[in-house]
């Protein structure tokens, strides 16, 4: 019975938020009606995404739930969607964060609710689309579509200077999209296809002008690196975080760009990616430390979260361009963990902002006595973020750092591990400045209301998820590993099969 919706499940996932958006736009803007429509829609789409892992065939190779229909004859654009172990959990993550985003906006968005929720839902469709598209033109359409509602909403709902931040966002993300489009079209001109599988095969077996291919690959990389963002292209992130509505800031960074790197940059151009790998590893490690150092000195908690994100996402970039199987699996897992943790932290900080109307860290202090639940959840989420074992952040972090050390480069791995210290510094300091110490007089006048039912209803599952992901990562990593195909088998996989040979050779190395 359930199997019968397999062929259309991805289409449903794409259409449900869009239908919700239309419904919001048509329905009257009365009370919290748009909120409720958006909430029901996002819950609905989340349930639909859960169908995917439930019916995913772990052993099978290739794409599942695949649909491949001609859409536009000329140019030959296909409606080609499908998922594998790589994209499976990203779709679920987007589905999970959608209702979280609606609840984060519940009290924060008071005006023009219709526009907000309609655009928010369009954004959901776009993000789903990025993760399921297997036709490059389709993918590009969703990629662009994901930027538009974001820019508009930043401009409309900015805290201080929305239009300026929106402009910055626009410049940083739309401009690199243009070369991406040109690169996609160049590929099409050469091969007559936008199809991912076909292109991957063609790029591996057909001769292309080498330098042109380099530029094409670079155009792909550049667009993705800005979106992640990779140091030094992170200029838009802090402004976006401090101006964008919480629900959108929660999803703007990270997973879209990182997934695209894995699938479309390295997936299509393994040789070109390998050539640039050492540069990206260096940038990633710089990003880890740079982001952490800047997070230390921020005075606004959204900006702090922005630089913390730069630091954490750079670690995943390090995993990706280490080009090892273990690193990729750990990296994908870390993206999921980061999504969950960031969701929880953004929700909590948003809840504080709604209550106390301030984003300056210095105006807080001593909240733990008044808001014990918020303090507890915030501490747990912070600990997850700084990689405390048995919480979800540790698994990915340890996997990435250890495999970088063992297989890629010891120096860079050691440098990146310093991020572990700095991460604890800025997060614990943030916790202390928000929640501990004597109560700050500037917030004492506000009525203290601890987290209400709606917030608890979202945060509690997220926190439980952090525990489960920390203790039983295999529930996720088993499927992730079926979809992870780094360009060449890493040395470590061979050496793990013959560990004795390694240790036998080491004394010599040790005495050198």
């Amino acid at each position: 019975m359930m199997q019968t919706i397999d062929p259309i499940i991805l289409t449903l996932i794409l259409l449900v938020p869009l239908a919700g958006a239309i419904l919001v736009a048509l329905a009257p803007d009365r009370g919290k009606l748009p909120n409720w429509i958006a909430l029901l829609t996002t819950l609905c789409s989340f349930l639909l995404t859960l169908h995917l892992p439930a019916h995913f065939v772990s052993g099978a190779s290739g794409f599942q739930f695949e649909v491949n229909r001609p859409w536009i004859e000329s140019p030959a654009i296909f409606y080609h969607v499908g998922i594998d172990g790589l994209s499976l959990w990203f779709v679920v993550l987007v589905g999970l964060l959608a209702p979280v985003g609606v609840l984060a906006s519940w009290n924060a968005i008071k005006e023009r609710r219709k526009i907000f929720y309609a655009l928010f839902l369009v954004q959901q469709t776009a993000m789903f689309g990025v993760f399921v598209s297997l036709d490059l033109m389709l993918y590009y359409g969703f990629w662009e579509l994901s930027l538009v509602p974001m820019a508009i909403l930043i401009a409309m709902y900015g805290r201080n200077d929305g239009p300026r931040a929106a402009l910055k966002f626009f410049l940083f993300t739309f401009i690199p999209s243009a070369p991406l489009l040109v690169a996609i079209l160049w590929l099409y001109a050469r091969t007559g296809s936008f199809d991912y599988v076909h292109l991957q095969y063609a790029l591996a077996h057909q001769a292309f002008p080498a330098s042109a291919l380099c530029w094409v690959a670079f155009a792909f990389l550049f667009a993705f690196a800005v979106k992640v963002p990779v140091f030094p292209l992170h200029g838009w992130l802090a402004d976006t975080f401090s101006e964008a509505p919480v629900a959108l800031a929660m999803v703007v960074a990270g997973k879209l760009g990182l997934y695209s790197m894995l699938r479309f940059h390295i997936g299509l151009f393994p040789a070109q990616a390998r050539a640039l790998a050492s540069l990206l590893i260096a940038l990633a490690v710089i990003g880890v430390l740079y982001g952490a150092c800047l997070a230390l000195v921020q005075r606004d908690f959204w900006r702090l979260m922005a630089f913390a994100s730069v630091s954490h996402l750079s670690l995943i970039v390090l995993a990706i361009y280490g080009l090892t199987f273990t690193g990729w699996s750990g990296g994908v897992y870390q993206i999921l963990s980061h999504g969950v943790v960031d969701g929880a932290l953004f929700l909590l900080l948003g809840a504080l902002e709604v209550r106390y109307v301030s984003t300056a860290i210095a105006s807080y202090g001593g909240l733990a006595a008044k808001l014990p639940r918020a303090a507890t959840y915030f501490v747990i989420a912070s600990l997850t973020m700084i990689g405390l074992p048995l919480l979800s952040g540790f698994v990915g972090e340890f996997t990435i750092l250890s495999t970088t050390f063992v297989d890629v480069n010891r120096g860079w791995a050691i440098a990146a591990t310093i991020g572990v210290i700095l991460g604890a510094c800025y997060m614990l300091w943030l916790v202390q400045r928000l929640f501990y110490g004597p109560e700050n007089s500037s917030i004492a006048s506000h009525p203290a209301v601890d987290l209400h039912f709606g917030e608890l209803a979202v945060l509690t599952p997220l926190v439980i998820l952090m525990f489960v992901m920390g203790v039983m990562p295999s529930l996720w990593t088993n499927t992730i590993q079926t979809g992870v195909h780094p360009p060449q088998p890493a040395r470590y996989i061979e050496s793990a099969q013959a560990p004795l040979a390694v240790s036998a050779s080491l004394p010599v190395e040790g005495q050198r």
Partner: protein, 646 residues
């Protein structure tokens, strides 16, 4: 052997206690919170006792380690495979007996001590959480699971130091402890990576087996690995140079200081070195560093302990100093002696803290010894139990500290020429130990009361009971003797090869050690009882030295000046101010010649006119199609888009 009680019960019982009290504690009646909180360590202790009976029942030589592995792996990613595996052997058994036994006593004591605190339930849930992680740490069958416990006890310590979080000093101290430990953990992590790179596994038994099959493999990468692990150990066990967090950790409730910051958690570094001794044994250099760090810390901390006036801070420096002895023991490969001292220290140091807590309780929260005095008659049980602990820590026969400290000093002395230097450092430290401990004893209990308006009262029996039990252990805990103890641990730590050619050397060294301890007592007696004006005169004679000591050698200030301030300045002015704003921001706006153009277009968005957004979307889509169609049309007519250059 049939296993009626699973090992995993030992950590999971406290974890259950943590969950129940942590989630429901605020709503449960107090007696129920207490019951849950006490059942957790009681259950764990009972399980440990049953397993210990099984272990001791078997002939000591054949008692093989018991391993329990969770059928599904914890992390299984690519080449990385980590199990949840628990191993019970002689070493972990000793540790478990200390942790759950002393832990149980301190839980009982806390019922009285924390009685009127509004965070009662929260306190006990953290305490149970600590036991969960600490038992995980000592039962772990691989390095990463040990690291889980390692980080976890750090978390519990962070939460409990900052238990009274409204106090800025407490919140600061918690954060400082966590970060200092993180710096150590950085080294530990690198050590784990090195193990993974060179052994391909993190399981202790497999690493040991690989080393055993490669007897010629010494030094080199093994030294690096051992030193990295040592960095981790110095963080957790408060050794030079990362000891700075422990004195501040006294901000936490006193029973926490007793359990976490004296008896158990801070000894994790010693345990870790003993657990991975097969690695350290292959690197004489790393062992030497361990010994030097230990001896230096022992002496250094003892000097600072001499001038402290806060009763808990004296004990904190004393803990650092005693941990230094344990490191010294490890460094001369006398692991069983180090663990022996770990055990006796757990008894008498927990007792010292709990008795100090009883004093503070009696004095209505006063911690400054200058306002105490004359408490001997007022709180006799506390006085007598504390006296037992003071004699024990000074290493005076027949108290427990004598046997264990003696074992370490002897092992150091017979460790060659460098060993004799190390021994002499330990010897001087023993003098200082007796001096500052009896100083504490005199200032607190003897003489006249210096706070006449305070009316001290003896603590309730829930607090005195644990004191009495610990006093008995401080007296008799060492009578088992190092020979039997070392023999018991031999399957894990190997045989202690310390033999001397000089007859009666051990006896002479013991006599010397006791003599020096008594000398310390005599000096304290002279300065703090017979001639109480002398200390002030001494301070006046050497103002520089006194200032240096009382300011703790300015180490906190130096760290702040050398590390913290430059890092913040670098981040704020160079990275953020210059690179982020000037360089990157400037570049971005240079590129934004386009920006002004786009900005003009974006002006329309501000209007909030939905129709213009829609128009924009449509225009964008049209542009995409145009771009897509044109090249296709061109190429389908045989015109190819050529790229410049090849």
């Amino acid at each position: 052997m049939n296993a009626p009680l699973h090992l995993w019960l030992i950590p999971l019982l406290p974890f259950a206690g943590f969950l129940v009290n942590g989630i429901l504690g605020a709503r449960l009646p107090k007696w129920l919170v207490t019951t849950v909180a006490l059942l957790a360590p009681l259950g764990a202790f009972a399980v440990v006792l049953v397993r210990a009976a099984g272990f001791l029942g078997a002939a000591a030589a054949v008692a093989a380690p018991i391993t329990e592995t969770c059928p599904s792996a914890w992390i299984s990613i690519g080449a990385l495979h980590i199990d949840f595996s628990l191993v019970l052997d002689q070493l972990s058994l000793v540790m478990l007996l200390i942790i759950t036994g002393v832990g149980l006593l301190i839980h009982i004591y806390s019922v009285g001590y924390m009685d009127d605190d509004p965070g009662y339930w929260r306190y006990f849930s953290y305490l149970n959480l600590f036991l969960f992680f600490m038992t995980t740490l000592v039962l772990a069958g691989n390095v990463l699971l040990l690291f889980v416990g390692w980080e976890g006890v750090g978390l519990a310590s962070y939460l409990l130091i900052g238990f009274w979080y409204q106090k800025t000093s407490a919140a600061d101290a918690g954060k400082k402890a966590f970060i200092a430990n993180r710096i150590g953990d950085f080294g530990f992590l690198i050590g784990i990576f090195l193990l993974l790179a060179n052994f391909g596994t993190l399981t202790f038994s497999e690493i040991a087996a690989k080393l055993a099959s490669n007897p010629a493999w010494t030094g080199g990468i093994l030294t690096a690995t051992a030193l990295c692990l040592l960095v981790g150990a110095t963080g957790k066990s408060a050794q030079l140079p990362l000891y700075i967090w422990l004195p501040d950790a006294m901000e936490g409730p006193t029973p926490v200081s007793a359990l976490i910051h004296a008896a158990t958690m801070v000894t994790a570094g010693v345990y870790m070195i003993a657990r991975t001794h097969f690695l350290f044994d292959r690197s004489p250099f790393a062992l030497g560093v361990v010994a030097v760090v230990g001896a230096a810390t022992a002496l250094f901390a003892a000097t600072m302990g001499l001038v402290q006036n806060d009763i808990k801070r004296v004990l904190a420096y004393s803990t650092i100093s005693q941990l230094g002895y344990m490191f010294l023991g490890c460094g001369v490969a006398a692991y069983s002696a180090a663990v022996f001292h770990l055990m006796t220290h757990a008894f008498f140091k927990a007792l010292l803290f709990l008795a100090a807590g009883s004093v503070i309780h009696a004095m209505g929260g006063e911690q400054d010894m200058r306002r105490m005095g004359g408490l001997r008659k007022k709180i006799p049980v506390t006085f007598w139990t504390m006296t037992a602990a003071v004699i024990a820590i000074c290493g005076i026969w027949p108290f427990a500290g004598f046997f264990s400290k003696d074992a370490i000093l002897y092992a150091a002395f017979v460790h060659g020429v460098s060993g004799e230097i190390l021994w002499s450092v330990g010897f001087v430290t023993a003098l200082l130990t007796a001096l500052y401990m009896f100083r504490l004893w005199y200032m607190t209990f003897l003489g006249e009361s210096r706070s006449p308006d305070v009316h001290p009262h003896e603590s309730p029996w829930s607090m005195l009971g644990p004191l009495v039990v610990l006093a008995l252990l401080s007296l008799g805990g060492g009578w088992i003797g190092i020979e039997r103890f070392a023999e018991f641990l031999a399957p894990v730590t190997g045989h202690n090869a310390a033999v001397s050619s000089v007859p009666h050397l051990e006896l002479w060294l013991s006599v010397l050690a006791v003599a020096v301890a008594l000398e310390g007592w005599l000096i304290a007696d002279k300065y703090y009882r017979r001639k109480p004006e002398r200390p002030a005169a001494l301070v006046a004679a050497m103002p520089g030295v006194y200032k240096l000591l009382v300011n703790k050698y300015y180490v906190d200030e130096i760290y702040n000046f050398v590390f913290v301030k430059p890092l913040l300045a670098l981040s704020r002015w160079v990275l953020e101010g210059f690179i982020d704003w000037v360089v990157l921001g400037g570049l971005a706006w240079l590129l934004g010649g386009v920006a002004t153009l786009a900005g003009a277009i974006l002006q329309r968005w501000q209007s909030g006119n939905l129709r213009s957004y829609a128009a924009w979307l449509a225009a964008g889509a049209a542009a995409v199609l145009l771009f897509a169609v044109v090249p296709f049309l061109l190429s389908s007519h045989g015109i190819d888009l050529h790229w410049a250059g090849h």
